[in-house]
Amino acid sequence: MAAESGKIDPMHQFEVTPLGGGFNLGGQDILFTNSALWMVVAAITLGLFMWGGMRRQLVPGRWQAAVEGFTGFISSMMMANIGTEGRKYTPYVFSLFMFILFCNLLGMLPLGVLGLHPFTVTSHLAITGVLALISFAIVLVVGFWRHGLHFFSLFVPHGTPLPMIPIIAPIEFVSFMVRPFSLGLRLFVAMTAGHVLLKVLSGFVINGFNAETLWLGSIVSVLSFTLMIGISALELLVAGIQAYVFALLTSLYINDAVNLH
């Protein structure tokens, strides 16, 4: 935070800073950044979490039950949306869901208290966009692989009257092509907005206590802080919901590719 001017820049938290370890890949410098660090932290945390659920006991302990709750959640979602063929795509959707969820939650951790700068990986459009593009690419590959050119019948919903097809098909095509953008943007916007809001409110708290009329500033600070508590809870909810929405929409899109309509 640019504290020297007394102003708090809510966008500073999204800045990517190099941490070293660069090498050259095809003319591009690849650096290990704070973004990469938090991805790795998310991956390691996720790995530890999953490892705790690998005891494979018949009667699960708490940890194993928690891990099995997550796996069961995703596999039942895949089963409900796609059917038995959905099991094939469960590893991808599960990885996606857990990666997004852990990135969202790790970005919410109050590590600033310890002097660290938490970084929310999923608040970057490049990240969410690539994840959305991967999902979209899977849909395209699976769709054309399974149905060939018949996959284009996706753009003609079942039971469309013949004269309506020239109108419906372009609309369906556009809505299909918009999917990766809406998928990536939704997560990026939700994360960015939440973190900006929290940072702005925390700026209010700090500036309120630094105000010249302290009593008025204190009221602002206390109210803002109360609001922050509520919004932090809301953001935790949003972190889960956005990961769920991403996974759910991915599973629905894969369902389109697997079963057409």
């Binding site: 950044t33 991956a43 790995g47 690998m54 990885s95 970057h124 994840l131």
Partner: protein, 166 residues
């Protein structure tokens, strides 16, 4: 806004972001999605199967117990019916036996009675004959004492007979 700024092509960290995202996500997909998830799902499936099997076994045991109880009840009913039949038969047989024995005893008694009656009749007739002879003797002696006339035994007998039999 760094998120939008990085989408311009000359941004230095776009490539790093994408590189590390692909590395980390591929790692998660391979290690966790492909490695750990199937094992956890297999555990869950095994547990579900075990629960289903146990439930099926319990159901089968329940059904077996039901049929066992049913057959037990049927057996009980059958044996009770058999016992009742046997009791009825025994009663019947006993009644018939008793009747037969009674008839036999009746016949025996009747035989004895008639034999006794015949004995009595014989005894009576012999007693009568004795009385006749005794009376004839007594009459002879009385006549001899009173009148001194000797009466022939045969006359006395005839006279007594006439008196006795009127």
């Amino acid at each position: 806004m760094p998120q939008i700024a990085q989408l311009t092509a000359d941004n230095w960290y776009l490539a790093s972001q994408l590189f590390w995202l692909l590395v980390v996500f591929a790692g998660i997909y391979v290690v966790i999605g492909r490695g750990m998830l199937p094992k956890i799902e297999a555990t869950v499936d095994a547990r579900d199967r075990k629960v289903a099997d146990d439930l099926a076994a319990a159901k089968a045991a329940h059904a077996a117990a039901d049929t066992l109880e049913d057959s037990y009840r049927q057996q009980g009913e059958a044996s009770r019916a058999a016992a009742q039949k046997a009791v009825a038969e025994a009663k019947d047989k006993a009644a018939k036996d008793a009747e037969k024995r009674l008839a036999k005893v009746d016949a025996e008694l009747a035989g004895k009675l008639s034999a006794a009656e015949a004995d009595i009749a014989a005894a009576r007739s012999s007693a009568m004959a004795e009385i006749e002879s005794v009376a004839a003797e007594a009459a002879g002696e009385l006549v001899a004492k009173l009148s001194g006339v000797k009466v022939a035994a045969a006359d006395a007998k005839a006279a007594v007979k006439a008196v006795l039999h009127g």
